[in-house]
Assembly symmetry: C2
Homo-oligomer: 252 residues x 2
């Protein structure tokens, strides 16, 4: 049987699902489209929590989750305190930032990191551009927009609405190609607001999904404290329960 091209739309919370799926499809081409809604610059470094969790989840051996640098930054009084990444993630932030500064795009950099880790899947960001999810809260009588990472980490006042802050909201060529050229597209377990909503707002992605002849294979939603603010999915789906269901659909 020819290798099938399988594309998975995912966020950090999808990492266990994606890891298991990769183990079930060793003979197929797996591409993971990662949300960038939680990305941000902290301490001059580019954080990409979704892509990083997916890269980590796909490694043969998980990296040990020490956070020595984050502890030292806290000892130095560096803000924000809630940006507490583990050391392996911080190393990728350093290298990613260096490569971005050298002029490479986020998709190239993410692909380079995946290649250097010899992962069994390609990981591509849904956008090449800064496209960050903020939530609007009313805090001490004042309305303000807070980055979703800060909101999730510190539990600010209740989120009233979403704002996507973007320099260019188009989907990356790599993500659009991964959806267009795939034999099967899977929506991994994702938080409907934190991950799915900004992912499907990436310009061109929803149209590319709607243009496909076969429905999306959709896994159950992940828990989301912001679920009430999600965009409706409004795409034809076939429900799948587990990575094994996807493997069966692929014929693996």
């Amino acid at each position: 049987m020819a290798a099938m091209r399988v594309t998975v739309l995912a966020g950090a919370e999808s990492a266990p699902f994606v890891r298991e799926l990769a183990s079930l499809l060793p003979a197929h081409d797996l591409t993971v489209v990662a949300s960038v809604a939680r990305d941000q610059w902290v301490h001059g470094l580019k954080r990409t929590p979704d892509a990083d969790a997916l890269l980590d989840g796909l490694r043969a051996e998980p990296s040990s989750a020490t956070s020595r640098v984050a502890e030292e930054l806290a000892a130095l009084g560096a803000e924000p305190r809630w940006a507490h990444d583990d050391d392996a993630t911080l190393a990728r932030q350093v290298l990613r930032t260096e490569l971005l500064a050298a002029g490479f795009g986020l998709a190239e950099v993410t692909a380079a990191l995946a290649a250097r880790l010899a992962l069994p899947a390609t990981v591509v960001p849904v956008s090449e551009h800064r496209t960050e999810l903020h939530v609007v809260v009313t805090d001490a009588g004042e309305r303000r927009a807070v980055h979703v990472e800060e909101h999730l980490a510190t539990g600010t006042a209740e989120a009233e609405s979403l704002v996507v802050v973007s320099t260019d909201d188009s989907a990356s060529d790599a993500a659009l190609a991964a959806v267009r050229d795939a034999d099967v597209v899977v929506l991994a377990p994702v938080r409907p607001t934190v991950t799915r909503t900004p992912l499907l707002r990436a310009g061109g992605l929803r149209d590319a999904l709607a243009a496909r002849p076969a429905p999306l294979l959709a896994a159950p939603e992940a828990d989301d404290p912001l679920a009430a603010l999600a965009d409706p999915l409004e795409l034809p789906v076939t429900t799948v329960g587990s990575p094994a269901d996807v493997a069966a659909a692929v014929g693996a």
Copy 2:
């Protein structure tokens, strides 16, 4: 007795001496002027090995010397491999780089790090500017200049001469003031080429030392693989053997 102002000229190799001296002079004002000759930018981060070793040495409790981020960078194939800093140092590099990018000078940033660590001494860089020591080597028939850090870490071909690569070779105001205003100036145990030579080439520093009425208190030289290339000291000195000798001279 009034507090005396004691200034120490130092490099990374002086850290144990400076630590002991600080413990002997708790009631006096201690300022450490750190060489910047080994500074460089690696992975987009500002390394300052001399200031960092001195900051570390002055801490109440030494930080544990894990190198998780450096190990992960090596696993990612990041070059140069020889820039293998421990995690606490890397955290300071991240914060230093962030503050430099925000427009603060190296002296302000170094003072801020020392203050946040509640150190018993002030640490000031001898220069605010990029002033890096290179050595000239002949490698496979070709002469080239190599950063002293690379030379020391990888043992390139034999060093033939020194080149200080500088955007502005003047000493920092903080270093000049520390020498001018001190009651006692000490030359800590330093490598004569790697540390002392570029330190005393910082514009204005040698004149400020020569203008002092009392001689420099000079500790024994540290071992230096490049000793043959050192500038002569050519300053009047009184030899001291240990931090206790300095404390006796200060009257502590």
